[in-house]
Point group: C2
């Protein structure tokens, strides 16, 4: 029985998860598989780029955020996935050695009209580095199971 | 000298990239590292879930889309990254064996006010499976270098 259901999320609630450290090897491995642009793959080329040094692919940042919240609550929840993100913003480069945390704020919740066993949670996630600088932010529509006994 | 610069993208332009096939092993490997929810990791558990069978993490879908457009044009462009995505929608599960293509539509372009050497391209990307069903869509603000000689 998972610990967290739809009913456990209330508008305004703020929680924090992590930290998780990212290494240069992880940045390059992700880039080699999914986003082999020089700024994510090679220190020398990255120094000459707009970002001025090796940094993680934006999609790697999203994946790291996912892993932090997975360990934080998703894997111990009645998660049924997500339908999408109305916003993803990459605010600052994620660098080798960054220790990242995720702050979650519940923006709103609503029960499903069609399925009495699930509900939606709209949340905002800010990923912060050790200097408390937000490196990315995203909002997402999560789907979560309701506790057994929810009114049909 | 990269082939594609900011000037090569014009509003309304549609291009298509791919295909790229995704395997069950890739789906599970990505999930194990970044999104270890049962529906992305284990066939048996996935069959019992809302999605009814093993499917890729939404972030894996984004990463695959990135790789398809990287091979399609980004790696041969003056890409300077992206600031974010005003919208990401996961529309249908990405399954093992899916052959995915990405259709790009240029929504608009504008020169940078502050930097004469770069411009922005707003684009919509639809990722389609072999049945032409859209599995995800995202819009993104791309930054691209302008051709040498652009007016300062």
């Amino acid at each position: 029985m998972p610990k967290f259901h739809w009913e456990d999320f209330t508008p305004g609630q703020v929680t924090e998860y992590g930290p998780r450290e990212v290494t240069a090897d992880e940045i390059k491995a992700f880039a080699a598989e999914f986003d082999p642009q020089p700024m994510h793959l090679d220190e020398e080329a990255a120094r000459a780029s707009l970002v001025g040094g090796l940094c993680a692919s934006g999609w790697h940042s999203c994946a790291i955020l996912m892993r932090i919240i997975a360990d934080g609550f998703v894997l111990d929840s009645a998660s049924m996935g997500a339908t999408g993100c109305p916003e993803v913003k990459w605010l600052a480069p994620v660098r080798p050695g960054d220790r990242l945390r995720v702050r979650m704020k519940v923006l709103g919740t609503r029960a499903s009209n069609s399925r009495p066993d699930l509900g939606f949670v709209d949340a905002r996630f800010d990923m912060l580095n050790a200097d408390d600088l937000p490196v990315m932010t995203l909002t997402s529509h999560l789907m979560l199971g309701r506790r057994t006994g929810a009114a049909p």
